[in-house]
Symmetry: C2
Subunit: 119 residues, 2 copies
DNA sequence: TTAACGGTTGAATGATTGCTCAACCATTAA
DNA sequence: TTAATGGTTGAGCAATCATTCAACCGTTAA
């Protein structure tokens, strides 16, 4: 019963010791789920450009729309996803909503990514 | 003409200086495209678990299938994506194909991700 | 040669997702 | 009060994508 996952598999293990070693120390499913969802936010051209822009300066929706050549609506939809993922925070001043990165932590993820593609 | 992107935008700039500062030093579109595609590989539950497993040990397709409770086919399809993105390499020995991470660089991306979700 | 096994592949399908469009809310200026 | 502006929202649509299924390839053992 500890191996209920194997039931969906259409083959048998070849190196049991390897599987056992890797299974030990494997993060919980929730962690992988959260991790995949985090990377999903960086996995779209529009969102990654928004995040990069906000890593430089706090910006409002219209300015982001002009910068990226997209509609307010498209930008706003993506900002909502980023908000729900706690990657950006906002600050409403009058009619204008200023968005910024939720924490500087996020810049690190960029740097690792750029390092890799410029290997 | 340097601002052809603005044509698709449905509003006008509010803080021109901000836009100008951010536009300067903005990576090329190709970089963002590559970056998004890199993160896309981490943005799926199955692929992120495969990558994590391979960050621990070299593994063959069947063992990955058993470990993750999925069919050989599903694993093989995802390994193909990872191969095309140059994130994994393989080594065929007889009937068995051993997969491993293409470079240790990739572990760093994991660590930054785990750091973030465990903030 | 044949059968079994590890692995790959392409088409099909269901699910997810990014953008558009139109309507709408909130704030400010007229 | 009204109109204009910055921004949000939900439905709808097209595109992307992850898995399944069935067929297939390459290697090895019988």
């Amino acid at each position: 019963m500890a191996k209920k996952e194997q039931s969906l598999c259409d083959c048998h293990a070849i190196h049991d010791e390897v599987i056992e070693r890797v299974r030990n120390g494997m993060p919980e499913n929730k962690d992988f789920y959260d991790l995949a969802n985090l990377y999903k936010m960086f996995a779209d051209n529009t969102r990654v450009r928004i995040l990069w822009a906000l890593s430089r300066e706090e910006m409002c929706v219209c300015d982001l729309a002009v910068l990226l050549g997209m509609t307010k609506s498209a930008i706003s939809h993506q900002l909502k996803s980023l908000r729900l993922s706690n990657l950006v925070k906002y600050d409403k001043q009058g009619k204008i909503v200023y968005y910024s990165l939720a924490d500087d932590h996020i810049k690190d993820i960029f740097e690792k990514g750029f390092e890799h593609i410029h290997e």
